[in-house]
Amino acid sequence: MEIKYLYYLLYVVGDLENLELFDGSLLVEKITNKWYDDFRLSNFGAIITFVGVVRDEDGIDGLSFDIYEPILNSWFNAWQEKAKVKGAIVLMAHSKGDVLNHTSSYIAGVCSPKRRVALELIDEFVEDFKASAPIWKYDIINGKREYALERSTAIKGAGILS
């Protein structure tokens, strides 16, 4: 029983290591190089990364993010299970707090034996991330945070209390 529990813990922690949260802008080269070094010897033939960069538009100085980690962790672990069925793994890094224009707030990655699975999975993973991950975005304008409601998506099943 105890051994089973230990393996379970190792498994969960192992998944969560593939989800990294950082204060402020992401150090893209450091994160993506680490992912490459961590996984290039694991016989994955395809390693794909998507890097999101904050654009200078509508007079913003940058973006700011709040994250609810307990549900983000369970969302990510569900994706890890989905990837595992296809022999793949998913990776993710995201910023908390302020991220200035022309720096990165989000990196997603997929490693899989062959390219087709990785190409398809990164698309689904990033789209579901935008629709479901419990992260809230604010524009930084004149030093103040303004919630980006018009660019946000209600989580599936929202509104049951209305």
Binding site: S132, W136, A158
Partner: protein
């Protein structure tokens, strides 16, 4: 008591309420003007699991979270 947390931009202090299901929470929050624009677009989690049933039972020590529309990345 059930703790009710308002996440992200809702910006409301947590509440501790004596309620036994989500329907009772709905009745209380509908009387709160500051929540009027959030109830229709917020998802609900009980103990960090998303739920979609308004009759979901609640017990002493449960945590309810309101999650407004999201936009990561």
């Amino acid at each position: 008591m059930v703790r009710v947390e308002f996440l992200g931009p809702i910006g409301k202090e947590p509440l501790d309420l004596d309620i036994s299901n989500l329907n009772e929470l709905s009745i209380i929050l509908k009387d709160d003007e500051s929540m009027s624009s959030w109830l229709q677009n917020s998802a609900i989690a009980v103990n960090d699991i998303l739920v979609q049933d308004k009759n979901h039972p609640l017990k002493d020590g449960d945590k309810v979270s309101l999650l407004p529309p999201v936009c990561g990345g």
